[in-house]
Symmetry: C2
Subunit: 317 residues, 2 copies
């Protein structure tokens, strides 16, 4: 099969398909999405080498549970050991022995086939297009904000950053009934939020309002500093961005204003699928371009251009 492999260089190469381990399903990838994490890995982040990619929708080729064969699925990216304390508490995404699709010890989905534990798979409702389903993983990550309880007692939230992650977070928060404002620097992206019924504003127009909850989704250390300034005392900064290096943080302010900084990563696939199925959230407007997998290198280059939202790749039938 063909796969997009990073080993210091990035190449679309022919290699044997992965072999399913015990309890794992083989999945033919239909569509894959490119994430900032993929671009960071290509820049050397996390030291991962291998097949890239962790956002996908696919079709089960083989599984112990034969009723799965032929169904359309998405898959949680953390493959846990299943026996440790974390796994016992249903938090396999923090299992210290986990592998992570296309990120840590497990070949990713920028390939014609992948393997994942059957228990990681979620069936995609027939009503959902691949255009929507390919967003399940990042949308689930946005739902993690809700899952962690960060919005409890909050009637108004600000999302800093109008990129992919910021827009998905804003859609999720707005879907819970919390008044949501997204701020950024790109009128084109802010317009997507407005079409989804979300207040949008240029960063320059923010003024001196303060918020109870601010979601940092700019990916930039300056966004982190700004987010802290935008919080009311006792407010919560939800940190979705990861930064290369160690940003300087105004920790005295965190203490004096008794702020909470809450790191937030992967989230619940079931909530993401349910929100798309019900029509509450339609992330497909975030797709800027779709490339055939044969043009994977062009797709990666496009995803890395400033201002780009989501770029996807379609695998050959």
């Amino acid at each position: 099969m063909r796969a997009l492999v990073f080993d210091g260089d990035l190449n679309l190469i022919e290699r044997p398909p992965p072999v399913a381990g015990p309890g794992e399903a083989r999945i033919r990838v239909r569509r894959a999405g490119i994430c900032a994490t993929d671009l960071e890995i290509i820049s050397g982040y996390m030291g991962y080498e291998g097949v890239l990619g962790h956002e996908f929708v696919g079709e089960v080729v083989s599984a112990d549970d034969t009723s799965l064969v032929g169904t359309r699925v998405v898959g949680e990216i953390n493959a846990a050991c299943g026996v440790c304390d974390w796994c016992g508490r249903g938090l396999g995404r923090h299992c210290p022995a986990r592998t992570v699709l296309g990120i840590l010890g497990r070949a990713g989905c920028f390939a014609e086939e992948i393997c994942l534990p059957t228990q990681n798979l979620h069936r995609v409702p027939d009503a959902l297009t691949d255009d929507a389903a390919v967003f399940t993983e990042p949308l689930a990550a946005a739902f993690e904000i809700v899952e962690q309880g960060a919005l409890q007692g909050c009637d108004e939230a600000l999302v800093l950053g109008d990129g992919r992650l910021g827009l998905l977070c804003a859609m999720v928060i707005a879907s819970t009934g919390v008044k949501t404002t997204v701020v950024g620097k790109h009128p084109r992206k802010l317009a997507i939020a407005e079409r989804a019924g979300i207040d949008a504003m240029l960063t320059a127009d923010l003024g001196d309002r303060r918020y109870r909850v601010v979601v940092e989704a700019t990916g930039s250390p300056s966004g982190l500093a700004h987010a802290l300034e935008l919080l009311k005392p006792r407010g919560t900064l939800v940190l979705k961005s990861t930064y290369a290096g160690r940003p300087e943080v105004d920790m005295a302010r965190v203490v004096i204003d008794e702020l909470t900084i809450l790191g937030s990563r992967c989230g619940p696939f079931d909530r993401a699928l349910a929100a798309m199925r019900s029509g509450d959230i339609d992330p497909s407007a975030l797709i800027d371009a779709d490339y055939p997998f044969s043009r994977a290198l062009d797709a990666i280059e496009h995803a890395g251009r400033p201002g780009t939202l989501k770029v996807t790749m379609t695998m050959p039938e």
Copy 2:
């Protein structure tokens, strides 16, 4: 009256006593404690100039409520406006118009007399010595950890730092029934924790255990970095230390492990007084030295020596 004034230089000088505003009581200071914040102000932190000091026990000289006159009191240090949203929610310590005793816009308690709003005062139970009562403010700050709910669902906590703040935090957490370990570099200070029934350990002996809750009370940016490493995924770092400048923080770890960083400042005086009255907590063992106020400059110098716990000053009768 005499007062210890910082105006770039530090001097014990004669000056007129403060004049009570509406709703304020005049208080004769009996005993005052020196805090790290006082030493930081002397180093230029927060730009405060005026009479230093915010930890005290005193006696009411005059108040609208005449039943208070002659009673022994301690006082909350944030003097709030009383009318804003924060004050309405009982959170005057975050009132944006507040003054803070000896820290912001209000003459402090390293003086023979001070003024504070009557509503800031708490009567000291007769059974409490001044040795204990002078710790009410920092002990209340340690109780803020409980008040903020940081220990919910936690059966084991680590306190990093065996200074004044670390020992008080450890005493408070242990008093709630949570298994508590305090780590530091000073056998003499760790012995105080052990005598209070708290597990104590040299930092060098920590090993690779991880904790659900870590309280950072070292006052050092390296302590902050260490505290993050000591947390289990989904753990909470309670930040009691303030640092001059902006430390570099491993925010990627905060996201990947979904950590919570919780800033924690001033706390509930009533809980601190109740815990000392019941005998659950006796902080008086933390007093390394008491000076007559006439030797205030010596007391400050002593408080600043490495390894010193609490230094107090006794005012003239």
